[in-house]
Symmetry: C2
Subunit: 151 residues, 2 copies
């Protein structure tokens, strides 16, 4: 099956516009999808850690969170303001990228610790990662009323 | 740092209610967060496959998708109707769990193929996984007007 046909099928199935050019809208949508993924994953981890639901899959969820975190900075590399991202992201790129890199490292450390030493041992690394979320959002994210993800 | 204090910190940071009991609401919220994660991840993969955004992190995103997929069935094990899940999920549990297991296997196969043979080679496995999403949603998910995720 040729590459174009495969892309066609996947795009159709995922309801993604085909033959899209890398427009500003695409860039913003992609960035938002990555950040929404992280937000949902943080919700899942929090629900497990609080004891609200069984934590059977905690390790896999944490690993998925760390993988997504490792991709997040890249989603901001194109200088396209919009969505919830404040223009400060690009005006203070050195600081922003340092924070995002640290966040990814903390998430990776949490996943590694959970794998090697168990879930409990990973909690401090995860606290570091969620503190990074919070302080970075305060600086670089527009707050919109009614957001669930207001950490 | 004690376990309770750690849990307290993480819960506070993630804005998750502390000392929550495993209520029906918790179960539904967790299930929805897992499915929303998959939806955002599918969006991310589709945006990359359609060429709308660069696919630098395609492998990591696909791996995160497969990890989340591996946890999805578990989120439905408690028989708690609500949210978008139709009661048919539990009335036809054998069929539903078979479909979810196949979906997780297809996502895992796509991630493995991408790692071993490159992104292009993984497209057919990913098509299988997204076809599974589509047919399972048709059978077991309430459709709500205005949903973006109507694949």
């Amino acid at each position: 099956m040729g590459r174009i046909f495969r892309t066609l099928c996947v795009s159709a199935l995922l309801s993604v516009p085909l033959l899209a050019v890398a427009s500003d809208q695409d860039t913003i949508r992609y960035r938002e999808d990555v950040m929404k993924t992280l937000n949902e994953q943080a919700g899942v981890l929090g629900e497990m850690l609080s004891g609200a639901v069984p934590n059977d899959n905690y390790g896999a969820q944490l690993q998925a969170f760390a993988l997504t975190a490792s991709t997040a900075l890249k989603a901001f590399e194109s200088k396209v303001p919009g969505g919830k991202a404040k223009p400060a992201v690009w005006a203070s790129w050195t600081d922003f990228s340092k924070r995002m890199t640290e966040f990814a490292q903390q998430a990776a450390a949490a996943a590694k610790t959970a794998k090697e030493q168990g879930n409990d041992a990973a909690a401090e690394d995860l606290i570091d990662a969620t503190e990074s979320c919070k302080s970075c959002h305060k600086q670089y994210r527009q707050e919109m009323k009614g957001d669930r993800d207001d950490q």
